[in-house]
Amino acid sequence: MAKETTELTWEGKKSQIKLSIYEVKRKIQKALFGKIRFKKSLKANTKKNIFVWSMLALPLLNLLVFWLYVNIDSILLAFKNIDYAAGGVEYWTLDNFKTIYQMFTEHTEGYDLLLYGANTMKYWLLGTVWSIPHSILLTYVFHKKIRGTKFFRVVLYLPSIIAAVVLAGIFEAFISGKGVLGKILIDVFNVERVPAWFQEVEYATPMLLFYSFFFGFAGSYILFSGAMARISREVQEAAALDGATMWQELWHITIPMMWPTISMTIVTSFAGIFGATGAILLFTPNLPPTFTFGYWIFDQVRRYNAYYLPSALGFVFTLIAYPIVLLVRKLVTSIYADVD
């Protein structure tokens, strides 16, 4: 028994040794390969990171300089002004905000912010309250294949690619006293004097709005048509089988299903609520009563190299618009939130 035990023990010892050698080998191999693999993956990872960040470097630098720095500087400029008497030294001040308050309350020509605010709202109403429902209807009409859809789509697209300068020049000539509209007004309607539409305050802003309306007729059609085209045919067929009218389909199927695009458009339009510039630069750059907030800022920078007051005004608008945008975003995303 004892011999057997000894022999077994010997065999056991042998197998234990074999096992140990194998284990050690395996461990060494594992460690070696593991290490090699680890080294390899580290190298690959570094290479990947170098590639990723070298590809992103220039866009990132651009973002840091022309977005981050610019916006920080823009906020700082709002609290600064310049003392030319002291050799152009910048100093910190809150005076810009006092001036803005005065510009709202005192109606000085060229600095009448209340008037510019009223003009800005007109453009915003045209671009949002009118344009969004109008664009939905227009898209729906094309979606239901009105006669001549293809042709209308091409013409609707034209004002988007033809230079605004060219459009404006043709439009201005067309409606002027020496143009087609002028001729019609004089010969057919016996009008004695055709107004200089863009030089007379009375007509200038309505005409600018009309221009925006007329050449912006396509509105958000381009954006909405894609969203409408993506609505599943099965859903539309199911609605049709249930006997839904077109309006019911539009209201209960189409609008809810393209709501993400519509809501994004609404949010974007609120984000740009104070930014409208219309076609002022094209038609009435020397007529301050037609100015908007956005154009006034542009004009101050371009013509007078004024940085401080326009930055302060921009800062005030950002402070006002930001909560509005967040609120609108919350509201619009809660509508049809359960639609899939």
Binding site: L63, I161, V166, V301, R302, V325
Partner: protein, 293 residues
């Protein structure tokens, strides 16, 4: 689709629906006629003498005496800060081509990287892009203007660096596109011993070719027509759009409309060529809801 299914969607319209569609058709038809007539009228006027134009604005030009001289006159009259037509044309060419290439390429690069790679900081950068999309920042023009001038980028080819955007709302479109490209394609390049750069040039760029071209065309149209940026930053090296803007401002007072229309037509040639040769591509891309590959 079966005929039965088509019938379901194209059922007979009710009376109010029919009235609505007739009204919609008429509105669109009137709008289209006015727009097309306006362009036709401008084209015809470009071939008239100024006297004929002022005397009979609605009349067609004398076909036997088309005023081709208006085009040479326009070339002479188009001038800004002592830079003539051909100088402005050259400025337009390098500025527009450079800007379009850099803007479209950078948007494709960022979209490709975000869609194809996981890396530290990716989520943060993505959130920044979303933040940029919705935050309303006003009044950054003064700071931008000051920066451009203090860096000396105005009137300089170096201005093109401002066009390497990449992080904007458009990135979402290229991101969405490259997200649809299986990562396995890229990994196949590694198996063959290729690098990330090789994967980008042999997989990313060829697959994203259509979206890149579409962005290039859209940017080209936008930059070619842009008079605003040159007005702010390129007064010494004006573009054709800026020259045309100056011309348009002057004709309000000293009108030679036929010459202006001729100049406008010349400036429109590249855009019209793009429209003629790429209209399907351009419109298809835009009308399909943003861009697709």
């Amino acid at each position: 689709m079966s005929a039965k299914k088509r019938d379901i969607l194209e059922r007979r319209r009710t009376v109010p629906e029919r009235i609505f569609f007739i009204v919609a058709f008429l509105v669109l038809a009137v709008w289209t006629i006015i727009v097309l007539y306006m362009f036709f009228w401008a084209l015809m006027s470009a071939f008239k003498t100024n006297i004929d134009y002022l005397r009979e604005p609605l009349a067609l030009p004398d076909l036997l005496h088309l005023q081709w001289e208006n085009f040479t006159l326009a070339i002479d009259l188009l001038e800004f800060n002592n830079v003539g037509f051909f100088g402005m044309l050259w400025n337009s060419i390098w500025l527009v081509f450079g800007s379009s290439i850099l803007a479209s390429l950078s948007i494709c690069v960022t979209g490709y990287i975000f869609a194809q790679y996981e890396f530290r900081g990716r989520e943060l950068l993505f959130k920044i892009v979303l933040f940029i999309m919705i935050i309303p920042i006003y009044g950054s023009l003064p700071a931008t203007y000051r920066l451009i001038y203090s860096l000396g980028l105005n009137d300089s080819p170096l201005y093109l660096v401002t066009q390497i955007g990449g992080f904007s709302a458009n990135m979402m479109i290229t991101y969405g596109f490259f997200k649809g490209v299986p990562r396995a394609y890229r990994e196949a390049v590694y198996v063959d011993g290729g690098s990330d750069w090789k994967a980008f040039t042999t997989i990313g760029l060829p697959m994203g070719k259509n979206i890149l071209i579409a962005f290039f065309l859209l940017n080209f149209v936008q930059f070619w027509n842009d008079y605003n940026t040159p007005l702010l930053y390129f007064n010494e090296r004006p573009t054709l759009a800026l020259g045309l803007y100056a011309f348009q401002q002057e004709i309000q007072y000293a009108a030679n409309y036929p010459a202006y229309f001729a100049g406008a037509l010349i400036a429109m040639i590249p855009i019209l060529l793009i429209f003629i040769f790429f209209s399907d591509k351009l419109m298809g891309q835009m009308y399909s809801g943003g861009l697709k590959g």
